[in-house]
Symmetry: C2
Subunit: 335 residues, 2 copies
């Protein structure tokens, strides 16, 4: 049985969307047990009772504008903190929250803890490509600064994820850079290039440019947290702006445009779907002793369902256990 | 009379698109003179003769895959190099090329030269916003690495450009960061924040996120060349992927989808247009002693026309002259 601790109070649509996602997942997967942390009365309003779901009541929760590290220290009984502590204490195998990202990162680092040998866990998401295969990128912003050694670890972490969770046999690793030539980039990129190129355990395909990400040029894209965050938000912002612009134009375009949009409905839906990567689950703070997964703040029940599905895959393949083993080998090699 | 030196041989559609853009500009603006550098016979095929256009023949040109600095040093008679040299020697006031970006940056720095006091000229473009006002962002990749002092200069440079060339009275300057809170970012961002906040000549509006760029949260967006390059390419890549995805879906959607697309034609055109910023001209290597402007490699005659229009505005407002004055003041203040 896979035990997942869920912060029922995090996210814009909590607890409703969270609990309804849980209902769906409990029905779909017979091998999971869920612990729901939060306001018992509110949770009960939406929960389909099941012997595989337990509610652990708490009044306290972390708000979206709380200062992350402080919130984790001070709100010891917040739903998110209790969920993370359940993992630390072996009562659960993984934690999921749609709440304050910074606080979840802090809870991951300080409560769940890093894998020995992993210097800086990175935030990893599966992002969309035109061919719908997707790619995994990290770090998406867990860190404001990274070294080349961190980026090298991200290549290892990302490859493990792509291989185990997404079933990609020999994941192609690309280094996000300001040009594809081998000599490109700032000192960090140049140093990282050398490290990746020398590591025969990786399928390193060289430098890639942000322009080509959605064309599927790599299965794993490695970058520092500052750049990764900016790139992720640029992709999101551009996609949202385009959809908004199109909507406005259809609205102002009179009968003809509205009629056209109706006829094109499935194409427009396709387009929207190709930008939507909620099927792939949430963002994983990868490199911790257990899966710690952040679902988007605006997650509805479907996103929550897919994030639970993703966590289930991570537990099934024991990707974290394998990482621990890999890094313990590396550590002993370095001795 | 404003004299513009143009590399007729740079870009995917050269010399045809370049020369046809010149024809259009000569007709539209009676106060410009153009020097076309390149293959005289080929240029003549497209040129509408005018006493305000001169051809300076050369057989040599820089290719898109030439190593930039080397190309500039070795191909002394390349069309791009001759055009830059014309500016250096006072025969022209500005230079335009749609060729090898790196080579044009090198020609700008080493032939045209930096303004005294500007440490690292930045690549600046006007990018689209939903409300069609646009924003100016720099550095888009002239430098692989920048310091906080460079970023501070970009705020000054960008403000000058927005004010003079785009007519924005009191341009709002935003610092691209991984969150909007004042304490966000890596050490460079924190240091830059302090510098911008302390500079009363700037209308600094604080940190902004890449997600909000197209919503027009700032008129000038300041970032380092590595991040700027990644963000620009993410925006371009996402927009292109969405359009491609939509096209494929319409093609595969049968009669209904095609009919719908026909009815929605003007909405789809609007959408495409909102992503297209060729009206705003090319990318300026800003901080040099004269306008050095890069038109997109795939530029057609319309883009070339708009880039000439942009250069004309830069010359008319003497934005570079004003910058020189500004930085000479700063230098003497520092004495």
């Amino acid at each position: 049985m896979k035990k997942i601790a869920i912060d029922a109070m995090g996210g814009d649509k909590a607890p409703k969307a969270i609990v309804e996602g849980v209902n769906k997942a409990i029905q779909a997967f017979s091998d999971i047990e869920i612990q729901l942390y939060g306001d018992q009365e509110k949770i009960k309003n939406y929960l389909t009772p099941s012997e595989r779901v337990t509610i652990i009541h708490t009044d306290e929760k972390i708000n979206s504008d709380d200062e992350p590290a402080k919130a984790i220290r001070r709100k010891k009984n917040a739903s998110m903190v209790l969920a993370a502590r359940a993992v630390k204490e072996g009562e659960a195998d993984a934690v999921l929250s749609a709440g304050n990202t910074g606080a979840l990162l802090a809870a991951g680092l300080f409560v769940v803890g890093r894998i020995k040998g992993v210097d800086r866990p990175g935030l990893l998401s599966t992002l969309p490509t035109i061919d719908k295969v997707g790619f995994d990128m990290l770090d998406l912003g867990a860190n404001a600064e990274n070294t080349a050694a961190h980026l090298h670890q991200y290549a290892v972490l990302g490859s493990f994820y792509a291989k185990n969770v997404r079933g990609i046999a020999n994941p192609r690793v690309g280094l996000l850079n300001n040009g594809t030539e081998t000599t490109k980039g700032d000192p960090i990129r140049k140093e990282t290039y050398a490290l990746l190129d020398a590591d025969s355990s990786l399928n390193f395909v060289g430098n890639i440019e942000a322009r080509d990400l959605m064309n599927g040029v790599a299965d794993v894209v490695v970058t520092d947290g500052f750049t990764g965050n900016a790139v992720l938000k640029s992709i999101e912002g551009t996609a949202l702006s385009i959809m908004k612009q199109l909507k406005t134009s259809i609205k102002g375009g009179g009968f003809k445009a509205k009629m056209g949009a109706l006829l094109m409905k499935s194409s427009l839906k396709d387009m929207k779907h190709s930008l939507d990567y909620s099927d792939a689950g949430g963002a994983v703070l990868f490199g911790l002793k257990a899966p710690v997964v952040k679902s988007h703040g605006s997650s509805g029940e479907t996103s929550i369902f897919y994030t639970i599905k993703q966590i289930r895959s991570m537990l099934e393949t024991d990707v974290v256990g394998q990482l621990i083993e890999e890094f313990s080998k590396e550590n002993s090699n370095n001795d």
